[in-house]
């Protein structure tokens, strides 16, 4: 991949800040409850029961996790398939978010399934009629593809830089040569993985929507619709760029960098049409199935639906149409955060709020342990992001393209 428009560098910054300290505390708290789950079973840590088999972990860690990692495939499509090179500098941070996000999703599944030691079963035991099987296999392959897409960043970091400690230093040359071979091979074949990543994403983003269809009448009519897969796909595509903006501005602030507003504004201008398409299908579906009648009564479902659509789609849609919002980092961040929050609420609604079993002996509200594990995993994810951008060339510094260019001529290709 050419580096004409972006030259990612290692971010130099103090690792431990008060914010990082808080994250470490949250992570440790999550890990304690996670141990409880593995030593004493799901019942010890969660409020899940026979009426509500899926809870916060599936709704947030898995469903929302997959959706919010959509920045990876949407920016890959923009940067590589549509070949808009000016966006290359956001491809890597988005790729890293997607890679970590999907790792977190896979780990979330591992934690949630009762028989975690059989997590590899779907690889050899296939059930073609199961939407979950489709999601599982696609996520597994896509996670592998994401790691492969990340490999060039690793080779770029270490080519000409291999410095193994002690007696392993004899291996420096062979390892360097291996990395160069890998790098050359990858740069020739990367297009296969990039397209595969996009196809796999569209497949499982939509199949995630098919998941709840089988629940039939057990799901509230405001959400239960045969076009659920399409709504999931459209919302995933719409949340991709907002997530990139959200994460980019957050990272810039955390590292004391200037946000890349010239790119982020352009990215922001594409969000309104994408959100518009999603909204059109969502509202259209509502009118075709006449489910708006359920909005006339005030209950958890109607309130959550209204919040999801108003706060998560309509308000940010209006915001992204305004040039003022696109130019201001603060407003852009707010609008992007609303979309992210909206999709998060949508997935929670679909998997938890909408699920209303006929015999509800105990209602479900996530336990403290469930919140702890989810928040702990997110904290670990952010910490890993920090460690990686400080040790691998992921983020491009503004206005340093020219100088950095020469630094990487060391790379064997192109």
């Amino acid at each position: 991949m050419s580096n004409d428009y972006s030259s990612p560098v290692l971010i130099k910054h103090k690792f431990l800040t008060p914010g990082v300290f808080v994250l470490i505390v949250l992570a440790v708290n999550g890990l304690v409850f996670l141990m409880g789950r593995f030593f004493f079973g799901l019942g010890a840590v969660t409020h899940l029961n026979n009426q509500y088999p899926w809870g916060l972990w599936i709704g947030v860690d898995v469903a929302a996790g997959v959706a919010l990692a959509a920045g990876g495939f949407t920016t890959a499509a923009l940067g590589h398939v549509w070949h808009k090179e000016e966006y290359h500098l956001i491809v890597r941070p988005a790729l890293l978010t997607a890679m970590l996000g999907y790792t977190f999703v896979a780990f979330g599944v591992f934690v949630d399934i009762g028989r975690w030691y059989f997590i590899w079963h779907p690889l050899i035991m296939w059930n073609g009629t199961s939407a979950l099987f489709e999601v599982g296999i696609c996520v597994m392959i896509y996670l592998t593809v994401l790691y492969i897409e990340f490999l060039p960043i690793v080779t770029e970091r270490f080519i000409g830089n291999v410095n193994l400690p002690g007696f392993l230093s004899r291996m420096n040359k062979p390892v360097d040569r291996l990395l160069r071979v890998l790098d050359r091979g990858l740069s020739k074949t990367m297009f296969i993985f990039i397209i595969a990543g996009i196809v796999l994403s569209t497949l499982h983003q939509s199949s995630l929507g098919t998941l709840m269809i089988v629940a039939g009448y057990k799901m509230h009519p405001l959400w239960q619709t045969p076009v659920l897969p399409l709504l999931f796909l459209l919302s995933a595509i719409a949340v991709g760029f907002p997530m990139v903006i959200f994460e980019s501005i957050l990272a810039s602030r955390s590292f004391g960098l200037k946000p890349e507003m010239h790119i982020l504004s352009k990215l922001g201008s594409m969000i309104a049409p994408l959100l518009g398409v999603y909204l059109a299908f969502k509202i259209g579906d509502m009118f075709i199935r006449k489910t708006f009648v359920y909005l006339s009564e005030v209950n958890t479902a109607s309130v959550m639906f209204t919040i999801e659509v108003l706060l998560g789609v309509i308000i940010p849609l209006r915001m992204f149409l305004s040039p003022k919002v696109l130019k201001s980092p603060g407003l852009l961040f707010t609008a992007a955060s609303l979309v992210v929050l909206g999709v998060l609420i949508n997935r929670i609604n679909n998997f938890i709020v909408a699920y209303s079993p006929p015999y509800s002996l105990h209602s479900y509200f996530p336990a403290f342990g469930e919140f702890s594990v989810t928040i702990g995993l997110i904290a670990i994810l952010i910490l890993l992001y920090r460690v990686i951008v400080m040790n691998f060339p992921v983020i491009s510094l503004p206005g340093k393209q020219k100088a950095a260019q020469t630094k990487y001529t060391i790379k064997g290709t192109k």
């Binding site: 088999p53 059989f118 098919t210 089988v214």
Partner: protein, 301 residues
């Protein structure tokens, strides 16, 4: 992009296409067992006959190695104050309801897995751990299950239960229609113990005609509805009653199998892998055109 890599591109794309098509053929073989035999068995539950003695609950636990306790303790009728549901500790339970037409006696309803003809759980299970067997039973395979609990999400009758309090080897617990017992020619434990013959075990088609016959012979005793004949596409366990089944807390899942919509969507997206492969080709084409345009622009410069 150079000429050789363009050829590479086409070659690899073709290879991937071929690979995926191969995959779809093997996946057809890997589907779980889902047999709808002509002679599948069923049970007809006559709720107007059941006396709520709950001996079936005891027999079921005994047959499935669950702690059953003393059979005399099942005479305690205080349990009827609250609705109970099958759980990981009891695969079948009896609930009591107020009297229906033609009788002053309370109505007792035994609840267990309905053993659907088109089971949502079998369709949904990620690894095919659930299967519909030739004798009509829907059973669970401990060697396959990963404990994802999607079957519980899918079940229209809210039946499968999960052992949440086991760290290792937690199981999905549900009525297995006494698969092991019937294989040996024995009756299901609940049918065998029932002192009033409220449960009739037999081929499903015969049970339907028996049920219709009973309704015809005694129209004052029964309402004209066999619950399970059509519900959720038909179930192996069917019920007769003297009042609307909704009043007896039966769900109304409709007559179509729960699996219909989701399977047709799933098959639509994956129709012989044509949509994903076409999307792959399309994206590849767009990528190639954009790259080509860029490089020819540069040449002109």
């Amino acid at each position: 992009m150079s000429g050789s890599s363009r050829r590479d591109f086409l070659k690899t794309s073709a290879l991937i296409g071929a690979g995926i098509t191969g995959l779809s053929i093997s996946s057809a073989k890997a589907a779980p067992k889902n047999i709808l035999s002509e002679n599948r068995m069923g049970v007809l539950v006559d709720t107007t006959v059941c006396i709520g003695c709950r001996q079936c609950e005891w027999a079921c636990k005994e047959a499935h190695d669950l702690p059953a306790g003393n059979i005399a303790s099942y005479e305690n009728r205080e349990v009827f104050y609250n609705m109970r549901r099958p759980s990981e500790n009891a695969l079948t339970v009896v609930n009591q309801y107020s009297a229906g037409k033609g009788s002053d006696l309370p109505v007792d309803v035994k609840v267990q897995c309905m053993h659907c003809d088109h089971p949502a759980c079998v369709s949904a299970c990620i690894v095919g751990a659930l299967s519909k067997e030739e004798n009509g039973s829907v059973i669970w395979d401990t060697d396959k299950c990963i404990g994802c609990r999607y079957c519980m999400v899918a079940c229209p009758f809210q039946i499968p239960a999960f052992q949440y309090n086991k760290a290792l080897d937690p199981k999905i617990m549900k009525c297995d229609f006494c698969f092991e017992r019937t294989k040996e020619g024995k009756l299901p434990a609940c049918v065998e113990i029932c002192p009033v013959e409220a449960l009739t075990y037999g081929p499903r088609t015969e049970l339907i005609s028996i049920a219709k016959d009973r309704i015809k012979r005694d129209p004052d005793r029964y309402i004209d509805h066999i619950y399970g004949e059509k519900e959720a596409g038909g179930t192996a366990w069917m019920y007769l009653g003297n009042q609307e089944f909704a009043k007896l807390d039966f769900p109304e899942p409709g007559d179509k199998p729960a699996v219909g919509v989701s399977e047709s969507i799933q098959h639509g997206i994956f129709a012989y892998f044509v949509p994903p492969v076409s999307l792959y080709a399309l994206l590849g084409g767009i990528m190639w055109i954009n790259k080509h345009r860029k490089s020819s622009d540069e040449e002109e410069k």
